[in-house]
């Protein structure tokens, strides 16, 4: 048997309890895994486990538990803070198959089964000191400074010997007033570990237990012993219990293993008696310890839990799933995260790519996309064969690149993952979203895929164009100095770069598969971040409409062969038709393009620009190229095919290291001779002077165009060699992606089980209180703007 143990509280000093329970399981030969908030669902997904035991309850994150509730594995909650947090625990319990409570008094209200916490042999057991001279303290009280305790202690000290050697530790915090005992100066309030606490108990003659009269659920007072009773007994000390609020009901009293008092006077009398009678006291401690070892170790509790897990397991295998929120048994739900969607705002290659893979993938994949669709909206859409369906719209602004975490965005994201049973999250871009999304999706049990469309994960200047307007080549530099200069030019300190990269490294650690379209983009990414080798795959980017493009090639090849038969025609080769496709913005080499056209304006060249931005169009008009240069801003598929059919050379002059460049592929597939800048993916895709040309300056382009216009032999050689290039079809590409998704499914917990009607109807996901970022982010507080709700890394 193998059990996952998870402490659900986000902030707790009781981390020792799940560790103690795990040790107890191990002592009775049950294997355990202690899971964190971040890896609970991944652990459930990847380990062969028989059940999940969640300790705590009240502080739990509902998103994690809700996703856990979808897993077909027995789940048991064991609360630790009843009755004080009973209301919340009742709410949380709907995610579980069974709930145990630490408080007997809470059972009737909640329907939970009573199972007291216990002692841990490995952590608490100490050999009892046989004689008085071996003890360090006469008396000890260790517990949070609840007001009733402070008042009781103050009164008690008046009744104890003046020279009593006492150890009192009363931790307080911002909610609990600092204790100010009249007759005992508390020197130190710092906390100690359970191990050291056990040492103190073991070296103290009489240990006092005081109840806590404070509760969030005011109706019920605790009537069950706190674990301290068992832990202290296991550590080998005599105990006196001052019970002023009927909080205790234990066999320890009836068997005379502890002294119970109901008034201060009785309590003082009991303490004094035990101090004066060491033999009686040590004997009482021995009996108590023996009883605890026989009855109240965690091992004694676990038998019930193990039986319950077995029962639940059998029930699960026989139960037939019902309900409306059923995930398709053999299908896989994929959520794509993008910075934009085709059809909503001006879009580029990434948006086109997402549409292609969503529309053309296999039947057993359900594709959802979440993306900002305007400056103030985020949309969730589903792609089907029929088209695009808008499922949700949320009025939330896109966030700036400097923001690392934004609870409202993450809240929506987490809700979507749960509501649509998302198993794979495929990140295309995090621009407009918080950088921590991958950590959120992993914590919710998803497998993460990231396609590197640009370098946003490495820098908020995702094209790696620096403050001087050039490709920064930061990946080749070991030091961050050039990055600091670049940030400083933007008015930042420059040192934020280190923080951004440390965080990005953490984000990347949560990505299970990183897809690069060519070798060069993988090289650049791995130059920024080491240790990615095992997770990076190179999958060639698809080229949409490959069949149409290939038809153009066949036409051109026919013309080329005709030319080879009739070489005399070379002398009549007059006007060279040059095309530039795609978003013709500055980073795509617009400056160079304009200079090239301007320099060749008096010669036999015609230029065609598809995808001009406003700047491009304005510049072309201002330069007055006339019929020499034809510009279109938006273009459709038919226009593209028509223009490629009537073009000889294609220019791809990007200044940034393209990760693929779909437009380049379209031109090459159509047999148009490519001239491209010698950086990024271009270097992988073009073999210089064989199937295209790699250039380093606008001057080289101009010279090359003049040569190509007259050197028909060179031109035709390139065109012929272009036929060898095998662009990958949409179908082949989506098949590869599909394999990747289904392989990663082994990391995802089995969510085929239904969300029970109880969990669905009682509360919707958006009602959950979002706290995942607190749970999974330890870097809150790391950057200089640490204290703000929205932690930023670059300002």
């Amino acid at each position: 048997m193998r059990i996952v143990i998870y402490h659900s509280d986000p902030q707790t000093a009781n981390q020792y309890i799940p560790i103690a329970i795990a040790k107890a399981f191990n002592r009775i030969s049950v294997k355990t895994v202690i899971a964190s908030h971040e890896n609970l669902l991944r652990t459930v997904g990847t380990s062969a486990v028989n059940g999940v035991l969640v300790i705590g309850g009240a502080g739990a994150d509902e998103y994690i538990l809700s996703r856990l509730s979808q897993c077909s594995i027995p789940k048991i909650l064991w609360t630790t803070e009843d009755p004080y947090e009973l209301e919340r625990n009742i709410l949380i319990s709907r995610f579980f198959d069974y709930t145990y409570t630490n408080c007997e008094g809470s059972t009737s209200t909640s329907g939970f089964t009573y199972l007291p916490l216990a002692a841990c042999h490995a952590g608490n057991f100490r050999v009892i000191r046989p004689s008085d001279d071996l003890y360090n303290y006469d008396f000890a009280f260790i517990g949070t400074a609840w007001p009733n305790r402070v008042a009781a202690l103050d009164e008690l000290f008046d009744h104890l010997p003046r020279n009593i050697k006492a150890k009192v530790i009363m931790p307080h915090n911002q909610y609990i007033q600092k204790p100010n005992l009249k007759s005992f100066a508390l020197l130190n309030k710092s906390p100690i570990t359970i191990k050291e606490l056990s040492d103190i108990w073991n070296s103290t003659k009489v240990v006092l237990t005081l109840g806590r009269i404070f509760s969030n659920s005011n109706k019920i007072n605790s009537i069950s012993p706190p674990p301290r009773l068992y832990e202290a007994s296991c550590a080998g000390c005599a105990q006196v219990i001052l019970d002023q609020g009927s909080f205790l009901n234990t066999k320890y009293e009836s068997l005379d293993l502890v002294k119970r008092a109901t008034t201060i006077e009785e309590c003082a009398k009991a303490i004094n008696f035990l101090l004066e009678n060491p033999e009686v006291r040590i004997e009482m401690a021995k009996k108590s310890q023996q009883y605890t070892l026989a009855n109240d170790l965690y091992e004694n509790r676990l038998e019930k839990i193990i039986y319950k897990f077995k029962d639940l397991s059998e029930a699960l295998t026989t139960e037939k799933p019902l309900g409306e929120h059923k995930c398709m048994p053999k299908s896989l739900n994929v959520l794509h995260v993008a910075h934009n969607l085709k059809g909503f705002q001006a879009s580029g290659g990434t948006e086109l790519y997402i549409e292609e893979i969503c529309k053309n993938s296999s039947k057993n994949l359900n594709h959802f996309v979440i993306a900002p669709t305007s400056q103030s909206d985020i949309s969730l859409v589903r792609y089907t064969k029929q088209g695009i369906e808008i499922l949700e719209n949320h009025s939330l602004p896109i966030i700036e690149q400097h923001i690392l975490s934004s609870a409202p965005h993450e809240h929506i994201f987490a809700s979507v993952i749960l509501k649509y049973c998302i198993e794979i999250v495929h990140y295309h871009h995090l621009l407009g979203f918080p950088l921590i999304f991958p950590l959120v999706s992993k914590a919710l049990g998803c497998a993460n895929v990231m396609t590197i469309h640009d370098y946003y994960i490495a820098c908020h200047k995702w094209l790696l164009i620096n403050h001087l307007g050039n490709f920064c080549e930061a990946h080749t530099k070991k030091s961050l100095t050039s990055c600091q200069l670049c940030l400083q030019a933007d008015g930042l300190l420059g040192t934020e770069r280190n923080t951004r990269l440390l965080i990005s490294r953490r984000i990347l650690s949560s990505i299970d598969k990183i897809i690069c379209s060519t070798r060069e983009s993988a090289v650049i990414l791995k130059s920024f971040f080491s240790g990615l080798e095992d997770r990076v795959s190179i999958v060639q980017m698809l080229t949409p409409g490959l069949d149409d493009l290939s038809r153009i090639t066949r036409v051109k090849n026919y013309q080329t062969s005709t030319f080879q038969i009739m070489p005399q025609l070379s002398t009549t080769f007059s006007t060279l038709r040059v095309i530039a496709i795609g978003n013709q913005a500055r980073h795509k080499g617009l400056d160079s393009l304009l200079r090239i056209i301007n320099n060749l304006r008096g010669e036999d060249f015609n230029f065609r620009i598809l995808g001009a931005d406003d700047n491009c169009e304005a510049a072309i008009n201002a330069l007055g190229f006339g019929a020499k240069c034809n510009v279109s801003k938006i273009y459709d598929r038919a226009t593209l095919l028509h223009e490629l059919t009537n073009s000889d050379v294609a220019l791809s002059l990007s200044m940034w290291p393209e990760t693929y460049n779909i437009s380049l592929g379209e031109a090459m597939a159509a047999g148009v001779v490519p001239i491209a800048t010698n950086i990024g993916a271009h270097k992988d895709r073009i073999r210089h002077e064989y199937n295209g040309f790699l250039v380093n300056s606008a001057a080289e382009v101009i010279d090359l165009l003049r040569i190509l216009r007259v050197d028909k032999k060179l031109f035709s050689k390139i065109q012929v060699n272009l036929v060898e290039i095998k662009e990958i079809s949409v179908l082949d590409h989506t098949n590869i992606l599909s394999k990747i998704y289904f392989n990663l499914r082994s990391l995802v917990p089995d969510t085929q089980a239904l969300i029970s009607a109880k969990s669905i109807n009682s509360r919707s996901y958006t009602d959950f209180e979002y706290q995942l970022n607190d749970l999974i982010l330890d870097f809150r507080g790391y950057s200089s703007s640490a204290m703000s709700v929205e932690t930023s890394w670059d300002e």
């Binding site: 986000p10 902030q11 707790t12 000093a13 981390q15 303290y137 020279n163 050697k165 006492a166 150890k167 530790i169 005992f184 100066a185 508390l186 020197l187 130190n188 309030k189 710092s190 906390p191 100690i192 570990t193 050291e196 040492d199 103190i200 070991k478 030091s479 961050l480 300190l493 040192t495 934020e496 770069r497 280190n498 923080t499 990269l501 440390l502 490294r505 953490r506 650690s509 920024f528 971040f529 080491s530 240790g531 330890d778 870097f779 507080g781 790391y782 950057s783 200089s784």
Partner: protein, 327 residues
């Protein structure tokens, strides 16, 4: 495998960390135990990446705190990996900054932490407990005898005024005997009724002399966390000044909930734990009246420190552990 070339640098820039001098003491300690076959370089954080790139040390030891965001930790660690240098952290601000452990968790680094209670907080990283120590060179500041009655009435405390320390001093000030003997040094100390506080930073050498001259040294831990809100991990390890004062032959009154100190100094080794004002009053009276007792304890504390608690001992453990000769 024996390491031949080691770089010691800060986990954060010296300008952000007043404990930067510890690195020099560590380098010196290392030199003492491996004087001939180990090249040791001690470079400030800001320059470490360049040094690693060009000198390719086999081992990069990063000392100090992870809590400072303005540094080059990313490029230092990435460059170290690119030259196949083994990365080792010796973090001395645990548990106060333990929530930042994610920064080093997935690096394949070995982590030495000053806090035993943090050993299981670094995920799958190899972790070891290694508290700070006394600098070997401080042995020479004073002889093994306490200075003769230069400050016979003085109970010395030197350190930052963390809230828990102020609270303890305010409590101690309720005793006229303690209040009249206490001398508090450290930048930023507020005035406390009946106690002489000096809001001054002490130069290291001057502090050692003051330790040597004092009747007793008061040792108060810190409980101010920067990033320890996940599990509220208690601090237990003695700070470096514990060993420095012990080296200067002055007995200490050690006020802390944790008994971890007993793993460093036994009951007769000159570091005496105290839980109450009454116990401290008793110790002061005894110290004033029983010089033999005082002097024997002081000598014992120096002896124990020289035997076990110098940086050379700590670096010996660290390097042996890394080389696989002591796991």
């Amino acid at each position: 495998m024996k390491v031949k070339n080691i770089l010691i640098t800060g986990a954060s820039p010296d300008i952000a960390n007043t404990n930067a001098i510890l690195r020099s003491h560590m380098a010196h300690g290392l030199k003492l135990i491996r004087p001939h076959d180990l090249e040791i370089n001690n470079i400030e954080h800001t320059h470490a990446q360049t040094f690693i790139e060009f000198n390719k040390p086999e081992l990069v030891l990063l000392v100090g705190s992870l809590g400072c965001a303005s540094n080059s930790l990313f490029s230092i660690t990435e460059t170290s990996r690119s030259v196949d240098a083994q990365i080792v952290f010796w973090l001395h601000d645990d548990p106060y900054e333990i929530d930042f452990s994610w920064i080093v968790r997935d690096l394949g680094a070995s982590i030495f932490t000053n806090e035993k209670n943090c050993l299981d907080q670094y995920g799958h990283a190899k972790t070891y407990y290694l508290p700070l120590a006394a600098p070997d060179i401080y042995r020479k500041i004073t002889s093994n005898k306490k200075a003769a009655n230069t400050a016979p009435e003085e109970i010395l405390f030197c350190g930052y005024p963390y809230p828990n320390r102020i609270e303890i001093i305010e409590n101690l000030a309720k005793s006229p005997l303690i209040a009249s003997a206490l001398r508090i040094y450290g930048p930023g100390w507020p005035s406390i009724d009946a106690v002489k506080t000096f809001s001054l930073r002490q130069a290291p050498i001057s502090l050692q002399k003051k330790y040597n001259e004092a009747l007793l040294v008061l040792n108060l831990g810190r409980s101010l966390s920067i990033a320890n809100s996940r599990h509220f991990i208690p601090a237990s390890a003695p700070g470096p000044r514990t060993f420095e004062a012990a080296l200067q032959s002055t007995p200490q009154i050690y006020v802390d909930q944790s008994r971890e100190i007993e793993n460093f100094f036994g009951p007769e080794d000159g570091v005496i734990t105290a839980d109450s004002i009454e116990e401290i009053e008793f110790l002061i009276s005894k110290a004033k009246n029983d010089h033999n007792w005082l002097s024997q304890l002081g000598e014992k504390s120096r002896e124990v420190t020289i035997k076990r608690h110098l940086y050379s001992h700590r670096l010996g453990f660290l390097i042996n552990t890394i080389e696989g000769t002591q796991i």
